[in-house]
Symmetry: C2
Subunit: 213 residues, 2 copies
DNA sequence: TCGTCAATCTGACCATTGTCAAGATTCTGG
DNA sequence: CCAGAATCTTGACAATGGTCAGATTGACGA
């Protein structure tokens, strides 16, 4: 921390090396430690070892920085989900893919709680809903909706129900885990195990299509 | 709002009538409008029509006020869930009760987003985890865990899985709804309808115990 | 009527924050 | 090796915030 620049970058640039990246990383750390609302631009700069005004050469203002963090989060999440699907055996069924996406979703949320928090918070001026942000969101949830559609066999209503339930489950699990609520109530197991439980349960519903009253 | 005291209290006390209550209400309004992090004690006092220092005669500090809001939230939520269960026909099965609790959970979260936000945020100094708070939490989730236990027929593991899945679903749905994520992705229907969809889905899983591989 | 005491107000202290203007420093292309 | 541009620092401004000490106000019993 004292040797601000030496973190883990490529130091390919000017004075600092890669301040922009360093600022984003510091923001992530601070958000993880103190939650979004409690993070100040100054604190971010301080952590990087740079002064108040430095960030303004890389972001027009605080909101923009946070917005970039959020967009980055969506991008990364989309990557993780794609990778998980790609790792599946050829011709995996929609259910299997849906479960895999769910596990990836939770894994990302737990591994990157700071990103996750910002992604679903709109403290960021909504007037500035950068295209990057919405496109990132779409990249994530497009897949979910598409897979739900495959499972629904032509019924848009059913597709909505499936997507809604699946998304609610993984989002809820992620939130509860990250907020420490599960530990407080005595749930045991790693996040990966819990994710497997939940996605497995959900998979059971959609695995037996046609049996519901 | 200008006639600060006239809100809806009993005005049984001194100058203001019931400042304590008024402060809690104002806090709720502000949290709903600006999210937890953006609320200041001063703003709360301002809204009530009272000066900076007044709140300090009713709460030792800001955290304590927020903590009280959270505790109140858990208490209310427990009430709502109990009421929902009580309204069920005599001898309702555990599944039916679980679904009812889920609907009540979501209904509360949507009707009281401010409470809900504070309840699951620990900006509040965790060193001060007042007994009120934890007991409120227990009142809420005790029922959930108990009902899951009934459904699990003796298997503690299964009980955990059921509780975890059910809780994740309703918590996820509530969070997504309150954060506006669902509207943004084109989901249609009232929160009550969506809650019915999700709890119904979950009910399907646990309704067919013994059929899972 | 008067004194007591809690409830509230006045006014202040100090820390922090977002942001900016102007100066200093360092890099890069020529 | 120099000029211009990019980067960072200094220092400051206006807000806002939490909190507190010391008046002041008003209700209520004596």
């Amino acid at each position: 921390m004292t040797s601000a620049a030496g973190a883990g970058g490529e130091r390919r640039g000017y004075h600092h090396g890669d301040l922009r990246r360093a600022l984003l990383d510091a923001a992530l750390e601070l958000i993880r430690e103190k939650d979004v609302g409690g993070v100040s631009l100054r604190a971010i700069a301080r952590r990087v070892g740079v002064t108040n005004a430095a960030p303004y050469h890389h972001f027009p203002n605080k909101s923009a920085l946070l917005r970039e963090v959020a967009a980055e989060g969506f991008r990364k999440m989309a990557e993780v989900m794609e990778a998980e699907i790609a790792s599946l055996p050829e011709g995996a069924t929609p259910i299997v893919r849906l479960e895999a996406m769910g596990r990836a979703y939770v894994r990302f949320a737990v591994a990157h709680p700071a990103h996750y928090r910002v992604m679903f918070r709109e403290d960021l001026d909504p007037d500035e809903e950068s295209a990057e942000l919405t496109s990132g969101r779409d990249a994530c949830f497009g897949k979910l909706l598409a897979t739900a559609g495959e499972l629904a066999e032509g019924s848009p209503e059913r597709a909505q129900s499936i997507a809604l339930t699946a998304w609610s489950c993984v989002h809820g699990l992620s939130s509860l885990w990250n907020d420490g609520a599960l530990g407080r109530k005595g749930f045991e197991g790693s996040s990966e195990e819990l994710a497997r439980v939940v996605t497995g349960m959900v998979g059971e519903i959609f695995g037996n299509e046609g049996e519901h009253s």
